[in-house]
Amino acid sequence: MGFLDIDNTTKSYGSTEVLHKVDISVEEGEFLVLVGPSGCGKSTLLNMIAGLEEITSGEIRIKDEVMNGVHPSKRNIAMVFQSYALYPNMTVGKNITFGLEMHGTPKDERDKAMNDVAKLLQIEQLLDRKPGALSGGQRQRVAMGRALVRDPDVFLFDEPLSNLDAKLRVDMRTEIKKLHHKLGTTIVYVTHDQIEAMTLSTRIAVMNGGYVQQLGTPQEIYDTPANIFVATFMGSPAMNVVPAKVSVENGVPMARVALHDGSLTSLPFSQANMAEWDGKEILLGIRPETITDEDAADRKSGNIAHMTNRIVVTEPAGSDTFVTMTMGGRDVIARMRSDANVSPGIDFMFAVNMEKAVAFDPETEVRIAP
């Protein structure tokens, strides 16, 4: 049993099921991120944990106590909303202590808790102001203060950074991560931003269409995505997925992939079990950073394949240069060093780290290797 258990939970509106048998167990102190495109059910799931939406079937437990039908205020959770949801008529101080007041905490304890939290978040000088007089970042801090002051079992964050500008978002991201390290509380965090998911989480649940597509650590999700959806959703630029045919040459399974002119190149798999797919079509997934020039190829890799392909477009991005080519009739992006000697229209020899390559079944789109 975990600290927070989501056990076979479904959600239906009328006859439409929007969340299908979700099964997640969160340990104490974990930072779970629910990530997915809009409409995937991640916010609905969070609201069900909060008690703001009813659970159609299944169970949600916090500390082994069943939460179905328990009022939000009795679950010992705190939530930070996307719009911050600060009470506009109350000062910052009142906003922070309102929950304590509603729970009948005496005034002197409330004030002490408020001052502690204000100090932690460095918002002491804002306590007498109204939310309307605060900047976006300050409101964000107050919203977190309001959640922190309750000392809840579980923190719920509903896309808390999406209203901030790009720079502040990165700052607050770091801030939230620091806070989690410092306090060690259990957090469930909803976002549609895969970078937020990767940087913040200890575990990620990638959701789509009401299903949890994959649940795992950021590294697992990134290196061994369960299916094409996860592979292409997580990572920027997205993983390249190209059609290939498996053929076994000298006992080694190879992915035969068409290059820009239709000629085939052979990329050897690191996984011997791919031999079972001999003669069959698969989808080959290659992360952009595993296609490089010879010099930048990963020296620790035991399986670097080479191929010469024509460069279609180069996009310098400062630290990296993104190179687009055609493989298997699709655009494939390689992430090269900025000083790589590339230009559009030339034929260039690429080094592909096949140790990191992933293969998918083209029918089910499920990963078959590694």
């Binding site: 909060a50 008690g51 703001l52 009022h71 939000p72 205020s73 959770i77 705190a78 939530m79 909303f81 996307q82 719009s83 949801a85 009470y87 506009p88 008529n89 309102f98 929950g99 509603m102 729970h103 309001r146």
Partner: protein, 293 residues
């Protein structure tokens, strides 16, 4: 007044501007004429009015008609002046406005933040109250008041006005709360606030503009109502409007026009006062929510 202010959408030439102001001034004079007639004649002795020259300024200034209208004019059979009826009206208007506004706010809160099945249909039905002519309900309402033992009382009038007002106040508050962020309600729920605590602590303090609209609307309508007052009030609960009618319609003695004018102004003063005090919030409240700030 800044002539070339930047938020003027249309730029106009000088001649056009003069024309516009000329027309505006003419219309306002025309509009203010009845008020002028009432004010000047209410401070004249009666013989100056009966001698003709209704538009003239008073030769002898007197506040006697005002005092008489307030405290000693013959209303019906008693020479009480309008003052007891003024207090009748206050005793009717204040609770009626307060109750209908609070109930409207509560309805708006439930209809937007505690949605239930068929709530829009219910709201549509409530809106009917805004369109039913008063005359239709006179007889059934009289019967109901009789059954409830409220016939001829101030409480009965309060009830009638509250029932009639709820349609409007619900409409105002529902539309105002429809754009009030639901996340705030959810945050308060998680904080442990109950149904009424959310209403009193979160929603009502943010409802200033629309509450002003509701109060002005209800105050004006209820204060100015004559039909319900004439139909349902008893002798000691008649509102100002009914008393004014009795003063003016008196069928015996000399018609004291100066007293009538003074009485009419007295009857209109409270609504005027409400507009002057809260009027600038009225338009603001009506516009609230339509434009994002």
């Amino acid at each position: 007044m800044s002539v070339a202010s930047q938020d003027t959408a249309i730029r106009t030439g000088r001649a056009v501007r003069v024309l516009i102001y000329l027309v505006l001034v003419l219309f306002s004079l025309f509009y203010l004429l009845p008020l002028y007639v009432m004010v000047v004649n209410s401070v004249k002795p009666l013989d100056e009015i009966t001698g003709g020259g209704m538009m003239n300024l008073p030769q002898v200034f007197t506040i006697e008609p005002w005092l008489k209208a307030w405290s000693s004019a013959q209303i019906g059979v008693e020479p009480t002046g309008l003052s007891p009826y003024f207090w009748n009206s206050i005793k009717m208007v204040v609770p009626a406005v307060a109750i209908s506004t609070v109930l409207g706010a509560l309805n708006g809160y439930v209809l937007t933040k505690w949605r239930f099945k068929y709530d829009t249909i219910l709201f549509g039905l409530m809106l009917f109250a805004c369109f039913i002519p008063f005359q239709i309900v006179l007889i059934p309402m009289a019967r109901m008041l009789g059954l409830m033992g409220l016939a001829g009382t101030t409480s009965g009038l309060v009830l009638v006005h509250v029932v009639y007002g709820i349609g409007f106040t619900t409409l105002y508050f529902r539309n105002y709360y429809a754009v009030f962020p639901t996340e705030l309600i959810r945050a308060a729920q998680i904080d442990g606030a109950g149904f009424f605590q959310i209403f009193w602590r979160i929603l009502l303090p943010s409802s200033g503009p629309i509450a002003v609209v509701s109060v002005i609307w209800q105050f004006t309508n209820i204060w100015n109502d004559f039909l319900f007052g004439a139909s349902f009030a008893g002798a000691d609960s008649q509102p100002m409007t009914v008393a004014l009618n009795n003063l003016v319609q008196a069928s015996h003695g000399v018609k004291e026009y100066n007293v009538h004018f003074a009485g009419a102004i007295l009857a209109a003063l409270p609504t005027l006062l409400v507009y002057i005090v809260a009027g600038r919030y009225f338009v603001r409240g009506l516009m609230a929510g339509s434009v994002k700030g």
